[in-house]
């Protein structure tokens, strides 16, 4: 696959996924709740109709947004997540036995993805010791404390969302929309990024780039962003 700069930019989400999808594959999708999710790429993934997916994502979206869109169409077979409480479709399919879920503590999930991208097959964490999470896993003592061994996670395709990006694949995230996107960008065999604004190469300050271009194989500028807020908590003026 060509990875030179000119070829990283695709015209839309559909073309950016072209040739990458297959039944039963594993896909990572960035975002925390609906914040920082790859909105346009998820819609294109839904429209592709590819099914039996394993999705690695902290949450499962809501019924009509985010990965929830793929639940409605029953394209997801299995989720690896930390919290899926916002999604009713999820509950229904799970209780009907149509959907598998592997819950990971959020920090363990984040670190597993970071490890996957960093060539670390396994690491030890104190999170989950003495709980269901540690069942069937190696538990080992270091300096008198117990730690559970967790493994790295990778995906065939990672879908991430950034604020700004350039044709070299450099990405800058905005505020708390960063969340899981940077690690997932490193853990996809192929990482596809969507950005709110595609800027000329050279206009991003090298000290401000959060994801170096090496991790991004394809990039699009999304035509629009809903950026829905799940809990619109406001103060009275």
């Amino acid at each position: 696959m060509a990875t030179d700069m000119a070829n990283k930019v695709y015209k839309d989400a559909k073309s950016a996924l072209d040739g990458l999808l297959r039944e039963g594959m594993t896909i990572m999708a960035g975002g925390f709740g609906l914040c920082g999710i790859p909105e346009n790429l998820i819609v294109a993934l839904r429209d592709s109709g590819v099914g039996n997916l394993t999705c690695i994502s902290n949450n499962a979206g809501v019924d009509d947004a985010g990965l929830g869109l793929l639940l409605v169409t029953r394209q997801i077979k299995r989720m690896i997540s930390s919290y899926v409480g916002e999604n009713k479709t999820f509950s229904q399919q799970f209780l009907a036995g149509e959907l598998e879920i592997e819950f990971n503590p959020q920090g363990t999930l984040a670190e597993r993805i970071r490890a996957g991208g960093a060539g670390i097959p396994a690491f030890f964490t104190r999170t989950g010791v003495g709980t269901k999470v540690a069942e069937g896993k190696e538990v080992r003592e270091f300096d008198g404390d117990k730690f559970v061994m967790e493994t790295g996670l990778v995906a065939e395709v990672a879908l991430v969302k950034a604020w700004r990006g350039d044709a070299a694949g450099n990405l800058v995230y905005r505020k708390s929309a960063r969340n899981f996107n940077p690690m997932m960008a490193t853990a996809g065999k192929i990482t596809v990024a969507e950005v709110e604004e595609l800027v000329p190469v050279g206009s991003l300050d090298p000290d401000h780039i959060h994801t170096p271009g090496i991790y991004v194989k394809r990039i699009i500028e999304g035509p629009s962003y809903e950026k829905r807020i799940e809990q619109r908590t406001v103060r009275k003026a």
């Binding site: 925390f32 709740g33 609906l34 914040c35 920082g36 902290n58 997540s81 930390s82 919290y83 899926v84 409480g85 916002e86 509950s91 799970f94 209780l95 879920i101 819950f103 503590p105 959020q106 920090g107 363990t108 984040a110 670190e111 993805i113 970071r114 964490t125 104190r126 999170t127 989950g128 010791v129 003495g130 709980t131 269901k132 999470v133 604020w163 995230y173 905005r174 505020k175 708390s176 929309a177 960063r178 969340n179 899981f180 996107n181 940077p182 690690m183 959060h210 950026k227 829905r228 807020i229 799940e230 809990q231 619109r232 908590t233 406001v234 103060r235 009275k236 003026a237």
Partner: protein
């Protein structure tokens, strides 16, 4: 009168210290931020990747890219920084957060905590709770003393699947404040009693090895 939710939060806020970095869970814990003493410098962390969390925004300040771990719109503090969730949990797991205040379904006398699943019911997931209780220096639980069906939530042993083992240092309920011996043989010590609550009521509603602290007046 047992403590109200606000009184529980206010009491928890008295455990804050100048310069603390604190992670607050959803529900009563969130209220704690309303009771930070004037002039005290406390920095709130949100595990999705934000240090320096400000109050809810005014309507014209709402920014969908600024949310806390409860997916609520929030604002920035004067010294806010953002980072990835991996870096956020490195901060949590690495023991850099001074205090976590969170809710619970059950707490045991050895500091075991259960707050994420009820077998047979739909499980939503543990989110960041397991990482927080395992990694943060001190864990305070704020909760109602008994469940809706009247069962004590302060127990000798948790009946629900655990969030963490030997992790809770203190519990604050509407009845009072309890220190928990998470390192030794276990045991719950009543250190403060809510105004108008009797030791007998606490004893009746607690299913754990309970000691009455010396400073507590036995009515």
């Amino acid at each position: 009168m047992p403590w109200t939710r606000d009184q529980i939060a206010a009491r928890a806020a008295r455990e804050l210290r100048d310069g603390f970095y604190v992670n607050l869970g959803i529900g009563i814990p969130t209220l704690v931020s309303n009771f930070v003493p004037e002039g005290m410098d406390v920095t709130l962390q949100s595990e999705n990747g934000m240090l320096g969390v400000g109050p809810f925004p005014f309507e014209n300040q709402v920014d969908p890219d600024i949310i806390n771990a409860g997916k609520q719109a929030v604002t920035e503090a004067k010294d806010t920084s953002y980072f990835s969730s991996a870096d956020s949990f490195a901060m949590i797991r690495g023991g850099h957060i001074d205090l976590s205040i969170l809710g619970a379904m059950e707490v045991s006398e050895t500091g075991d905590l259960a707050n994420w699943m009820i077998p047979g019911k739909m499980v939503k997931g543990m989110g960041g709770a397991m990482d927080l209780v395992a990694g943060v220096k001190r864990v305070i639980v704020v909760m109602e003393h008994v469940s809706k069906d009247g069962a004590s939530k302060l127990l000798d042993t948790c009946s629900l699947p655990l969030t963490g083992q030997r992790v809770v240092d203190m519990a604050i309920t509407e009845l009072g404040l309890f220190a928990i011996d998470k390192k030794g043989n276990g045991g719950v010590t009543l250190l403060e009693l809510a105004e108008g609550v009797t030791v007998e009521e606490v004893k009746a509603k607690t299913r754990a090895k309970l000691t009455i602290g010396a400073a507590v007046k036995v009515a």
